[in-house]
């Protein structure tokens, strides 16, 4: 008796994947056409940019301006550090609770919804809301970035916690440790290094965002950048940009050093 011919395929076609890819390509073509991207526009654009750069040089180094800009930068730093510290202290417990392998559903569900809400708005939109709620200034910006920090760090931290080795946790539980002790000894050592990594990233991210919440009234150097560009003071704009770059690079250097010592 001959065996029926087996239909063998090492890589069976995935119709769903093909459909999604084709749809994506069709949309890209449509979008490029709809945006009316033309050579002429790009050429004028480059011309405008050249003119803009020309007016930026040399950067404005008037001491009184510099003092003002530095004040703004200090505010931005305050926003960044404050929001990172507060946001991280909230993210640690919220992230733990959101992890499906740690907390029961009645606790984890609401936590995940909270994180989702924090994630769903851009920091600028949240900043607008807080400016309306608590008035112009550093507090509004810092609160907005706390929300952004929770939205990002708590979510990724929950995913990290979901990947831990259950064996190590089980062994600690088997010693008769209480739930909180199990978290502290069995779970946290497995995830803290990666939480520290997330924290360093979020500090960088908050630094960058703290320079921009000022545009909507959230305090910091962003407000100055916005005003300067509205008034076509491009030399001041350049000074501000250079100060932002220098500050962020310095802080990245510092955080990298801190990470090296801690981890």
């Amino acid at each position: 008796m001959s065996r029926p011919a087996l239909h063998r395929q090492a890589f069976p076609p995935n119709r769903g994947k093909q459909a999604i890819l084709s749809a994506l390509i069709v949309y890209l073509v449509y979008a490029v056409l709809a945006l009316d991207v033309s050579m002429a526009r790009i050429v004028t654009g480059i011309g405008n940019a050249a003119h803009f750069f020309d007016r930026m040089f040399p950067p404005n180094t008037d001491p009184s301006k510099l003092a003002l800009i530095w004040d703004g930068m200090k505010q931005s730093l305050q926003i960044a550090i404050l929001s990172t510290v507060v946001g991280l202290s909230l993210s640690l417990p919220i992230g733990l609770i959101s992890a499906r392998n740690i907390a029961p559903a009645w606790l984890g569900g609401p936590a995940r919804v909270l994180v989702m809400i924090c994630r769903s708005f851009h920091p600028l939109i949240v900043a607008i809301l807080f400016v309306k709620a608590v008035g112009f200034g550093v507090l509004a910006g810092a609160l907005a970035l706390v929300v952004a920090t929770v939205g990002f760090v708590a979510k990724l931290f929950a995913e990290i916690v979901e990947e831990i080795s259950p064996k190590q946790v089980e062994a600690v539980r088997a010693t008769g440790a209480s739930t909180l002790s199990v978290l502290l000894i069995g779970v946290l050592p497995q995830v803290l290094p990666r939480f520290a990594g997330l924290s360093a990233y979020q500090l960088d991210s908050n630094l960058r965002n703290s320079t921009i919440v000022g545009i909507v009234g959230g305090g910091g150097i962003g407000a100055m950048l916005f005003t300067a560009s509205q008034r076509f003071d491009y030399d001041v704009v350049l000074t501000i940009i250079l100060i932002i770059i220098a500050t962020i690079m310095t802080l990245e250097f510092v955080t990298a050093r801190i990470r090296k010592i801690l981890l």
């Binding site: 064996k167 539980r173 008769g176 209480s178 002790s181």
Partner: protein, 261 residues
């Protein structure tokens, strides 16, 4: 001593009474296990994979909850204890795992000290306030299991398999347990290290006068080191006796067929 002044026979240290565990209804993994562990020493549970050895051991400290029957630890019914009572039961039972299950990122000494967690309130754990006696004992235990104290501050992840299992044993003993469970403690180790670990277990069981319940599938090791062998097959006990009583017939029954030898 005359017979009438003799105390009644001591309660078993551990008693399984018609224990049943079914992960799926109608398909019991443990099918009415009744056993008494009355004496210190090594009790080896042998049997093929999937026969319920691990489940049996894990029911004792309730990492797995039994479906029916009872488990008594030193006369106390622990089948359904919960919350802080369960934790008080667990701290009396040490456990050694196949893959050591150390907290990899913690130091060796802290892994040993974690055997005390069941005795400590949370704030002390938070501040790592282990008592001086505990710390002194943890160092003694490191030596007792054959580890150089120089290892104390290394991360557990830096140790070899055999060394990690020694730390796992020290952690279990740190609990001052009335009973030690070991789930395939040598299955991830090479033959020579396996022998060393078994010898260590025997020594500890003797010195501390506690029973050690070990799951294993290496019949040779079981025969060599156990004081009592329990053979399991498909959720039932099919042999229970001293190692010298186990015959090729028993083994064929336990492992099914002769091809395994």
């Amino acid at each position: 001593m005359t017979p009438d002044t003799m105390a009644p026979p001591p309660a078993a240290i551990l008693r399984f009474d018609r224990l049943v565990k079914a992960y799926e209804p109608g398909k019991p993994v443990l099918d009415g296990i009744t056993l008494d562990i009355t004496r210190p020493g090594i009790v080896a549970i042998i049997g093929p994979s999937g026969t319920g050895k691990s489940t049996l051991i894990r029911c004792v400290n309730r990492l797995t909850d039994p479906t029916g029957g009872r488990i008594l630890l030193e006369g106390e019914d622990i089948t359904t204890v919960r919350g802080s009572n369960l934790r008080r039961v667990r701290r009396r039972i040490g456990m050694v795992f196949q893959e050591y299950n150390l907290v990899e990122r913690l130091s060796v000494i802290e892994n040993v000290l974690s055997g005390r967690l069941g005795y400590m309130p949370f704030f002390k754990v938070l501040l790592r306030r282990y008592s001086d006696e505990d710390i002194a004992r943890a160092f003694e235990l490191l030596e007792a299991v054959g580890l150089d104290p120089a290892f104390a501050n290394r991360r557990a992840s830096q140790l070899s398999g055999g060394q990690r299992q020694r730390v796992g044993i020290a952690r279990a003993i740190m609990q001052n347990p009335s009973l030690v469970l070991a789930d395939e403690p040598t299955s991830s180790l090479d033959p020579r290290t396996s022998v060393e670990i078994m010898e260590l277990m025997v020594e500890i069981g003797r010195k501390r006068d506690i029973p050690i319940l070990i799951n294993m599938h290496d019949v040779g090791l079981a025969r060599r080191y156990a004081d009592r062998i329990i053979g399991m097959d498909r959720g039932k006990v099919v042999f229970d006796g001293p190692p010298e009583d186990i015959t090729a017939d028993h083994l064929n029954r336990i492992y099914g067929g002769e091809g395994w030898q």
